[in-house]
């Protein structure tokens, strides 16, 4: 009971702080007295929020479902399990606002960040519909119209179609007062384009939209992430040694903490391992590379482009994929844009130049819309590692008081910190942008 009161007090305090600070400052909302405990941006990105600083959230009825987006589509046998799109829901039993969640690069509908947001919004009285990132293997096979993801507008259309089809299924069972959408990282970027698409399609007429730690330019951000892998001593060829050392240390910590792989495990592990920034950057780079390798291969198989798999060769669920995996692990996401994405779409848009393609996958492309649209708000961190120097200014400039920039948190590291959770919820319950 007392913890509930404490949460309530924190929420109210969060709303008040949020409103007060946004009235007080003329331009961007800067956050004062922010007590998120990790000041190193790489540590924050990898470790997240130590458990005693996390918002206390209840367990919720978070249920996995699946939906056939393209019933006529034949899925390649090697991805036979990817015919239907997986998503999850937590539904109220009375009329409530609904919020769609879009996961970040390579992340699933039930990844820890989406799960955590689902808890916060469900507790605040929302129906929650959680979807994977368009870059997630299952989304590519089941819900991408072209099979080649990474285009701002086309991804938004895919996501919008998914939302519409899911809503068509839920419509009979639940009553909804308003529709809302949020996403983190690439999912935040996607949410902006989805909001814009909704202006013309009007299936949802979103009430509020929140972008959490979005990139400004996808190309800039993936260039940064691609380069992080160079922090592995000896490069990708020493990937296993690097990973082995890390695993070894990790298991040491794991053994010592008995079987309590608690929420605080990463933080404990980090403290015990005493990792340097370069190692953390390498870890982020590896994690990103594993996602991008999977995505690139999936798209290559789905459209039979002949990128790393020979064109025409048909793989099945029992095929040996070792060689493709090894190659994909050594290809950057930028290579994908130049040698796959660009030539693929060039076939249908022969007049567009390479630079135009890259410029189009940026929030700057829809800057005017973002500048004028009051329902869109931003939550970001001044030390986010996926932004090039100066890019954070874009949010202050374009969103003004609708952008809140936290001084620390790295890339999404503070998303489960109690103040941030209270803020997130307040955006949708407190009447949105002030």
């Amino acid at each position: 009971m007392t913890s509930k009161i404490r949460i309530a007090v924190r929420c109210v305090a969060g709303v008040l702080a949020y409103l007060a600070s946004s009235i007080a400052t003329a331009s961007v909302v800067t956050v004062q007295n922010y007590e998120y405990p990790i000041s190193d941006r790489f540590v924050a990105t990898v470790v997240g929020t130590p458990v005693e600083y996390e918002a206390k959230l209840p367990s919720i009825p978070f249920e996995q479902r699946s939906i056939d987006i393209f019933p006529d589509r034949k899925t390649p046998d090697v991805f036979f399990y990817g015919k239907e799109l997986l998503y999850s829901v937590a539904l109220q039993d009375h009329e409530s606002p609904l919020i769609f969640l879009i996961a970040g690069t390579g992340a699933s509908h039930e990844g820890s960040k989406n799960r955590n947001m689902a808890k916060a919004f469900y507790q605040a009285g929302f129906h929650v519909v959680s979807t994977s990132s368009p870059t997630f293997n299952n989304f590519v096979t089941a819900a991408s119209y072209t099979g080649v993801v990474g285009d701002a507008k086309k991804d938004a259309e895919d996501i919008y179609r998914v939302f519409e089809k899911i809503w068509a299924e839920l419509e009979q069972d639940i009553e909804v007062s308003t529709f809302n959408v949020t996403g983190y990282s690439l999912g935040g970027f996607n949410a902006a384009y989805v909001a814009k698409l909704d202006e013309t399609r009007q299936s949802f007429n979103f009430e509020n939209v929140l972008l959490i730690n979005p990139p400004v330019s996808i190309y800039n951000s993936i260039s940064l992430l691609d380069r992080m892998i160079n922090n592995i001593p000896g490069g990708m060829d020493n990937f296993d040694k690097f990973f082995d050392n890390l695993m070894r240390a990790y298991i040491n910590v794991y053994k010592e903490s008995s079987d309590a792989i608690g929420d605080d495990f990463l933080y404990k592990a980090y403290k015990a391992l005493n990792l340097k920034d370069e190692q953390l950057a390498a870890l982020i780079g590896v994690s990103f590379r594993l996602s991008s390798a999977s995505l690139i291969f999936t798209s290559d198989v789905v459209v039979d482009f002949g990128f790393i798999k020979p064109k025409g060769l048909i793989l099945n669920r029992y095929s040996n994929l070792t060689q493709y995996n090894e190659v994909a692990n050594r290809i950057g996401f930028t290579d994908y844009y130049h040698e796959f994405f660009y030539p693929f779409y060039k076939q249908t848009e022969p007049d567009a130049t390479r630079d135009e393609f890259i410029a189009a996958i940026s929030l700057e492309e829809i800057e005017d819309y973002l500048r004028d649209t009051e329902k869109i708000t931003v939550m970001h961190n001044a030390d986010d590692i996926i932004l090039q120097p100066g890019e954070i200014e874009f949010f202050a400039d374009v969103f003004g008081t609708r952008a809140t920039i936290y001084p620390t948190g790295g890339h999404c590291g503070n998303m489960s910190y109690s103040d941030n959770v209270a803020h997130m919820v307040a955006v949708f319950t407190g009447g949105g942008a002030p």
Binding site: D259, P310, G312, Y318, L321
Partner: protein, 251 residues
């Protein structure tokens, strides 16, 4: 009767999955197709090692069993688990899980002894003593509350301790990723476990345990086949499993 039907369904499913492989037309080797934009021979440095290689001479069979496990999960195992989670309340499920963990601790104690690892043996034994008494026959995990570490040692690790290598990677029906050594190690573990259970449990509880144990185990295993989101899941899981087991033995 019921068990028989389940067994028959399972065998039928196994045969069906195994038969399915026959339906793929033979393929020309990859070298007969035009070279892709990023061919392996250009991207991979000459004489490089496969970074994630694991000895897997039975890959074909393993992938079929992997596929079978997915279908078994989907058709039978996970629906049963879901029913269990709906019908049995939270606290009872925790109690049941602790109850089985207590037997795991007994096996850890035995294996720690066989490994001549006195600290682990003492910890596991201490846990069993505390949890079997204060913890009401293992239903409460008091030992963890008291901060007694929980070593997890099985016969596969015991063999590893005495120099037996992992052998070929092996995906076990129903149980999932393993290797020849660990797969064989499950037999003595299972035997000792049954002996202990015959000794300490009444017939009713023993029979109930036989049904509840696999369900409890699956309910507490978050792994879902083909849901990691990696296009290279089989390889990734194989490598992670082998690496983890290697380090488990080393520690």
């Amino acid at each position: 009767m019921m068990l028989q039907r389940v067994r028959r369904t399972v065998i039928a499913a196994l045969i069906l999955t195994l038969a399915a492989c026959a339906s793929y037309p033979p393929q020309k080797p990859a070298s007969d197709y035009p070279e892709p934009i990023f061919p392996a021979k250009r991207i991979l440095p000459p004489g490089h090692d496969d970074q994630m290689s694991v000895y897997d001479p039975w890959e074909g069979m393993n992938k079929h069993i992997y596929n079978f496990n997915y279908h078994f999960d989907k058709a039978i195992f996970l629906p049963v688990v879901q029913g269990y989670e709906t019908v049995v309340p939270d606290f009872a499920r925790t109690g049941i899980h602790n109850f089985f963990k207590n037997f795991d601790d007994m096996l850890s104690a035995v294996n720690s002894l066989l490994q001549l690892a006195p600290t682990k043996a003492a910890q596991s034994t201490g846990r069993v003593l505390v949890n079997s008494t204060v913890g009401l026959f293992g239903l409460l995990d008091v030992a963890s509350l008291w901060g007694i570490p929980r070593p997890m040692e099985d016969f596969g690790q015991t063999m590893g301790r005495w120099g037996v290598g992992q052998g070929p990677y092996l995906v076990l029906p129903f149980l999932g990723p393993s290797n020849l050594r660990d797969g064989i190690g499950k037999l003595p573990d299972f035997y000792v476990r049954s002996m202990i259970q015959d000794e300490v449990l009444s017939d009713d509880v023993r029979i109930a345990s036989t049904v509840a144990w696999p369900v409890d185990t699956r309910a507490n295993t978050s792994f879902r086949y083909y849901e990691t989101g990696s296009a290279f899941e089989y390889r990734m899981v194989r490598w992670l499993y082998s690496t983890k087991r290697r380090l488990d033995v080393e520690q």
